[in-house]
Amino acid sequence: MIPALEFSQIEGGYEPGLPILRGASLSVMPGEIVALLGPNGAGKSTLVKAAAGLVPIWSGRVTLGGRDITATPAHRMVREGLGFVPQTENVFANLSVLENLLLAAALVPKARRGTIDAIFTLFPDLARQRKLAAGRLSGGQRQMVAVARALIASPAVLMLDEPSAGLSPKLVGLVFERLQAVRATGVTILLVEQNVKAALAIADRAAVLVEGRERLVGRAADLADDKRLAHLYLGGGLEEA
């Protein structure tokens, strides 16, 4: 089976000479929810940004459904079928909810365009607020808009960077529940998260990134009980657990 998204030995970083990713590899299979975990500075955000074309990749490959997208410019990713929800500033605050969606929809070919109605079915709260400027929404609702904006382009794979950041536990539960509904529509999800518990609760598999490389990969259920997970977060190595 061809991975929906695959990273092969990715090395890269923002500044030449300052590598953040040091040979990271990861496969995400179609229909999976994969959680990308790891301590601060490990490079989790950087990895998904590299896939999105926002961070330079020095060596290695990223493929989407078997197609090499390593050199694809950032603005072409939606056409390829890769969606990305950044952690902060992830909606156009000066555009209304509806305009955020209309813009995103217009940027993919007609066949791939989701409908506003389908989006509003998935996110009923947003329907009521469609005319409001996205910047005026609460944190949780903004997060919904951010995900909706990515979804309306009908991505095959959706990457999210810490969607739980800044949200109350109840809202986190809500967002993650919506993500499961999204997966049920056939979208593959790669989830970067600091909230290990919540992420592992909905993920099928998980990978732990430490210092730019994947260190521990396995089924989410297994990892939840694995003592080595905590150890990696605290700065130890795999062997010492």
């Binding site: 923002y14 955000s45 940004k49 952690q87 902060t88």
Partner: protein, 320 residues
């Protein structure tokens, strides 16, 4: 070729280069050391020139000034006047972000030029100020000897300015200044003190521009509003860009180089263009210089002697 006219030309050239160097040093203090973007250089030069001219010149009917004071007092007055003007502008504008500071200082220069042109009873209007006294005139008359003497004067002033600035920049005051330029956080944590430092840097820089204006006025003996157009601002900026900002050598070297390019291109165009087309030739000269500056900005943003490109106070950072 006769020696005297050649020497005279060289002296003339070097006097102007030196005057521009003083102005460039002032701008360097503001931009190179403090990151302040002053697009109103011509305005502060004008204030200095007019102040000195009006203080030291002979009285003129229906026009303010003409106090006949000694030239040295005129120069000090020039520095004070531009310093005060800089203080007023600085207090209002320095806390603005850099592009707003640019627009504001540009506006200042436009208004100053407007006043110079229209306030006939103060500035002589379009006729300007004439008969500005020249130092040593009674002793040396006009001609090569006087040009050389004035060159010595300008060189002395330049050397003193250089020395003072080098001492200043190496001092604790200078170190704080660099810290403010390099590190936005440091600037924020210093709070009000950072604002005070920026103001001091701005005022000092403008005082040097005023001094340059005074040096110019007393060399040429006659000033008018069209001596202080935006092109002067651009010339000084060009000198700083070519020479490289952040150090004083760059400012002075830039002044020399850009003035040389300007003079040579001007001379060449005068030779090449027929008499009737002189105005068009002058326009073409500006275009060529503008193109040259743009090319340097693109190809070697650091200039010839400059330090590493400074971090903008509003640089767009990366996420995470």
């Amino acid at each position: 070729m006769e020696l005297a006219p050649l020497l005279s030309y060289i002296a003339f050239f070097l006097v102007f280069a030196g005057i521009f160097a003083v102005m460039a040093l002032g701008l360097n203090l503001q931009w190179g050391f403090c990151g302040l973007f002053n697009v109103g250089v011509a305005g502060f030069v004008a204030i200095g020139a007019y102040s000195s001219a009006l203080l030291t010149g002979p009285p003129e009917p229906e026009r303010f000034g003409g106090f006949g004071l000694p030239i040295l007092l005129g120069w000090i007055g020039a520095m004070l006047a531009s310093g005060v003007a800089a203080f007023i502008v600085g207090v209002a504008a320095l806390r603005l972000r850099e592009d707003y500071l640019a627009i504001t200082t540009f506006g200042i220069a436009v208004v100053i030029q407007l006043v110079a042109l229209n306030a006939q009873t103060i500035t002589g209007g379009p006729f300007g100020v004439q008969s500005i006294p020249r130092p040593f005139f009674e002793l040396l008359g006009s001609g090569l000897a006087w040009n050389l003497a004035y060159l010595g004067l300008v060189a002395t002033v330049l050397a003193l300015t250089w020395w003072a600035l080098e001492r200043l920049v190496a001092s604790p005051w200078g170190r704080v200044l660099r810290a403010i330029r390099e590190d936005e956080q440091a600037a924020a944590s210093l709070g009000k003190r950072a604002a005070a430092f920026r103001l001091q840097s701005f005022v000092l820089g403008c005082m040097l521009m005023g001094l340059g204006g005074a040096l110019y006025a007393h060399f040429v003996g006659y000033i008018a509003p069209e001596d202080f157009l935006p092109i002067l601002t651009f010339q000084i900026w060009a000198m700083l860009i070519v020479g490289g900002s952040g150090n004083n050598l760059g400012a002075v070297a830039g002044a020399l180089i850009v003035w040389a390019i300007w003079s040579v291109s001007g001379g060449l165009l005068r030779e090449v263009m027929p008499q009737a087309e002189q105005a068009r030739g002058a326009a073409l000269q500006v275009v060529l210089i503008g193109v040259l500056i743009s090319a340097i900005l693109v190809a070697r943003p650091r200039g010839l002697f400059g330090e590493r490109a400074r971090v903008s106070r509003h640089a767009d950072g990366h996420d995470g």
